[in-house]
């Protein structure tokens, strides 16, 4: 079963930027958006680029290596077939909490 994990202080992530963090052995990227937060897998499915280092717009991130772009809400690649996993993220009392998507629950149990 998937659980909520406290990962960082909200202020650790500047507006419209991303940072990565390991949760249960799984590296995810956390983004601060004008309308809230988003969390996804940190690796671009194309060549493993660090999505947390990508340019973030209101609702998408662009991989810094080869400019694959992903919607941060759905995880769908824009203009391509790939997807990235999207995880739940919440800010509470200045702290960021993450719950991995269902498909990752077994990973967490194993860790």
């Amino acid at each position: 079963m998937s659980v909520w994990t406290r990962i960082a202080c909200a202020e650790d992530v500047p507006m419209l930027e991303g940072r990565s963090v390991h949760v249960a052995g799984h590296q995810i990227a956390v983004f601060r958006l004008p309308g809230g937060w988003a969390a996804t897998d940190a690796r671009c499915p194309h060549k493993g680029g660090p999505l947390q280092d990508g340019i973030v717009a209101d609702s998408c991130v662009t991989c810094p290596l080869h400019q694959r772009r992903f919607d941060l809400r759905s995880g769908a690649q824009i203009g391509g077939p790939d997807t990235i996993e999207v995880h739940e993220i919440e800010e509470r009392d200045g702290a960021l909490w993450v719950r991995l998507a269902e498909g990752r629950a077994d990973l967490e149990d194993a860790a």
């Binding site: 990962i7 340019i55 810094p64």
Partner: protein
């Protein structure tokens, strides 16, 4: 007659895609399924060679993936149809379990590479050239190959040889007959390819029949044995002698098959439910292997399928192609040889233009090599069988023809089968304003791109000479550089998020944010406020991101001159941080590779040198030769002038990177002729070259001016730099800038004393405002986590730190 089963298209090549497009253009609703045997969405196989030149299959896609969704085309990739039962209306896939139902099925199974029965053709190191997997194998082998041999001197073989030669692999082309491309070219035209081929260093062996691929001691291909007894040592063999229609599926289900699947004038095979289109189809005894006829067939097939009332018989196609062979333009249409031929050739210029007619003047064919002017007009004359009283006059007329004179039915884009009338109608009806828009809407120019100049010409005619709509800095919101500059000035905008709030630019995809950031910085040098979210990662952490997410560190080494103490520090840093590589760069600097983001501040601290801006769209380096300080040929003090110039320019951001050089004499050891800004010492003076490049584009710089003193040369370099900073489009290198504006227009500004003074004043303001060393952020980061991930070790030396593990739910 259709039930819900709809149409099944077997084969995801150019033909399968063309059928889907033609069906959807006629019927937006009929269920349409496309089965692609390869793991890719349909791509442009004609441009396969691009994969050997660093391209990816995605770059070659005929349509983006959302097109299939939008058009409700169900696509199965990586799956092949194993068996077809036309009577039952079923197709069984490779897995043996999945069965697809259809009302009509279109075979677009294309062809396989033809491999002649050579002894040794199955050895490792022998490849064909047909799909992306072949390209990957060729690329892998070419890297280590001492010599490559391409068997086949036709179009496909020359394409492979061209790509191999460009990779730097010594390459031979082996051809059976006495001239290259004998199907498309006559002997004189084929001979004109010789200089281009020689220029690429490719060795051509005509009239060589390969009998055996010889094996080396390691069991891999090691050479070729020819019928005349001679041999050629090579460790990569690419077989590109032709194609063989892929007809197994058709034959297995009992369709009439000869060389290809036999179809009638409606593209229907011997079974009324089954059609065939493209390289697998044989119509009136002809199997076509190029794109233009396949487009014709797809349209007829679509009529047969969904618009039978208006279906007209397919009379066959006259093959036409516009392409490049060994980098030379080639247009072929219809017959290459015939009873009556007129030729205009210029051996010195390497051009050859030929028109083939019947004795009565009916145009039967054309070959244009090295000079493709009037190609559309001549292709149209061949297709329509125009009768010309004066074939030589027609050739001359074609070389002067503009797009205005083309008939509406003339095909402009051979890749996607788009004629002039469709392009003009789209421009008029949809009010298109730029070439790119026309390409997107009509698909003309979306293939090989060779017809884009004609598309641009048509657009200009339709717009009555009005300039094309400009390039958008923010394409999502259609904002040009000028629009945004005006807004920045009017509202006194000083940062990107203010601008985004004002006009929306940068909010949708974010791709333009670095461009917006540059624009505000350039316009508001004194008041600009940086926002790191608007910058590419390189500019957030002042280092160049590498493929594995690590960074490279290149300090400022002005003029390429370094001290022994600095070299010691490089060595110490590399040892201390166990860096995997120290690399001398092409810009006479030293690159430390494999630095993790967290290590950057410490590495900079230990180096104690300023940032070289090697990661930014900014002034990079000034290369120098030793000049009069040491060289016995030197005419100018290149080192001093180069160091001064680098000091004057460093720290400034520019529309794209700027590389410079100062060289002490025209021997040009510092390569100043091919830099964005290059100073060359001559007898009693200096030359200033601008707009040179030696990267993906190679261009000798334009001579901006010749002056008497080094001071004057430096001053002009700075004036030019500032003019480029103010007028270059974001991500436009100086070579593009030079060609867009033209040397004379640039000289008119840059050499004008009044404008010089104004440009230098703005340059001085920008220089005063710029940051000469962003690496000082190691001590004063703009954010506590500027160089860290959320779970990085604060020392930056240990990546293994893991997240704190809270397990309670937040609510």
């Amino acid at each position: 007659m259709f039930s819900t089963h709809g149409i099944l298209v077997v084969g995801g090549g150019i033909a399968g895609q063309a059928v889907c497009e033609a069906v959807r253009a006629r019927d937006p609703h009929v269920p349409l399924t496309l089965v692609c045997g390869e793991d890719h969405l349909p791509y442009d196989r004609v441009r396969l060679g691009a994969l050997l030149d660093g391209g990816s299959v995605e770059d070659l896609r005929l349509r983006p993936s959302d097109w299939y969704e939008d058009q409700r085309v169900m696509v199965l990739t990586g799956q092949r149809v194993r068996a077809l039962d036309p009577d039952a209306g079923t197709a069984t896939l490779d897995d043996g379990a999945t069965v697809l139902h259809y009302d009509r099925v279109v075979l677009c199974t294309g062809s396989d590479a033809l491999v002649p029965p050579l002894e040794g053709s199955a050895l490792p190191g022998v490849e064909v050239f047909r799909d992306p997997a072949d390209c990957a194998a060729i690329l892998g082998a070419a890297r280590s190959a001492g010599h490559a041999a391409v068997i086949g001197g036709g179009l496909l073989g020359l394409e492979a040889a061209y790509a191999l030669a460009k990779l730097g692999t010594p390459t031979s082309v082996i051809h059976l007959v006495d001239r290259l491309m004998e199907r498309q070219l006559d002997a004189p035209a084929a001979a004109l390819l010789a200089p281009a081929i020689a220029g690429l260093g490719v060795d051509v062996r005509l009239q060589h029949a390969t009998t055996t691929v010889l094996a080396g001691p390691d069991g891999r291909a090691a050479g070729l044995q020819f019928a005349d007894g001679s041999r050629l040592a090579c460790d990569l063999v690419v077989v590109a002698v032709g194609i063989r229609p892929h007809v197994g599926l058709a034959r297995d289900c009992g369709l009439t098959v000869e060389r290809g699947v036999v179809v009638d004038d409606h593209l229907v095979t011997s079974h009324p439910r089954v059609l065939a289109v493209g390289e697998c189809a044989q119509h009136r005894g002809v199997v076509h292997g190029i794109v233009a006829p396949i487009q014709d067939q797809a349209r007829v097939a679509a009529d047969t399928l969904v618009a039978p009332d208006r279906a007209v018989a397919y009379p066959g196609s006259i093959p036409t192609a516009k392409l490049k062979v060994m980098g030379v333009d080639l247009v072929t249409a219809g017959a290459a040889e015939g009873e009556r031929e007129v030729v205009v050739a210029d051996a010195a210029a390497g051009t050859y233009r030929k028109l083939v007619t019947a004795p009565d003047g009916t145009v039967l064919g054309a070959v244009l090599l090295g000079d493709a002017r009037g190609a559309e007009l001549l292709m149209d004359a061949v297709r329509t069988g125009r009768v010309s009283e004066d074939p030589l006059g027609l050739l001359a007329e074609a070389s002067q023809a503009t797009a205005a004179e083309l008939p509406d039915a003339a095909q402009v884009c051979n890749c996607n089968g788009v004629c002039k009338g469709e392009i003009v109608a789209a421009i008029r009806e949809r009010g298109l304003g730029s070439t790119q828009e026309v390409v997107n809407v009509t698909r003309a120019g979306a293939g090989c791109g060779s017809c884009k100049p004609v598309v641009t010409e048509l657009l200009q005619i339709e717009r009555a000479g009005a300039a094309e709509e400009p390039a958008y800095l923010c394409p999502c919101r259609k904002q040009t550089r000028e629009d945004i500059a005006a807004l920045v000035r009017e509202k006194g905008i000083t940062r990107v998020s203010e601008l985004s709030e004002a006009c929306g630019a940068g909010r949708d995809c974010g791709a333009c944010k670095p461009g917006l950031s540059y624009l505000i910085e350039e316009r508001q040098a004194a008041t600009f406020r940086q926002e790191r979210h608007a910058k590419f990662i390189n500019d957030r952490v002042h280092a160049n991101i590498q493929h594995d997410g690590t960074f490279s560190v290149v300090p400022r080494i002005r003029g390429g001159v370094v001290t022994s103490d600095e070299l010691r520090r490089f060595a110490d840093v590399a040892d201390k941080y166990e860096l995997p590589m120290i690399k001398i760069t092409g810009g006479q600097r030293i690159d430390l590779l494999g630095v993790r983001k967290e290590q950057l501040p410490a590495v900079w601290e230990d180096l104690g040198m300023p940032s070289g801006y090697a990661y930014a769209k900014a002034v990079r380096t000034v290369k120098t030769c030793v000049g009069t300080q040491f060289c016995r040929f030197g005419l100018g003090d290149a080192i001093t002038v180069g160091i001064d110039l680098e000091s004057a320019m460093e720290g400034l951001h520019t529309p794209h990177k700027v590389k410079a050089a100062v060289t002490g004499c025209p021997r040009n050891c510092a390569e100043a002729y091919v830099k964005d800004i290059g100073l060359v010492a001559i007898e009693n003076g200096w030359e200033i070259y601008v707009g040179g490049a030696a990267g993906a584009s190679v261009r000798k710089g334009d001579l901006l001016a010749t002056v008497e003193t080094a001071e004057e040369a430096q001053r002009l370099a700075l004036v030019y730099l500032q003019y480029y900073r103010e007028h270059g489009e974001h991500l436009e290198r100086t070579y593009g800038f030079q060609e867009r504006l033209g040397l004379e227009a640039i000289q008119a500004v840059v050499l004008d004393p009044e404008q010089q003074a104004a440009l230098l004043e703005r340059f001085a303001i920008a220089k005063a405002a710029c940051d000469p060393d962003p690496w000082r952020e190691r001590r004063e980061p703009v954010h506590p986590k500027q160089f860290a991930e959320l779970d990085s070790d604060p020392e930056g030396l240990d990546l293994v730190a893991m997240a704190a593990a809270g397990v309670e739910a937040p609510r």
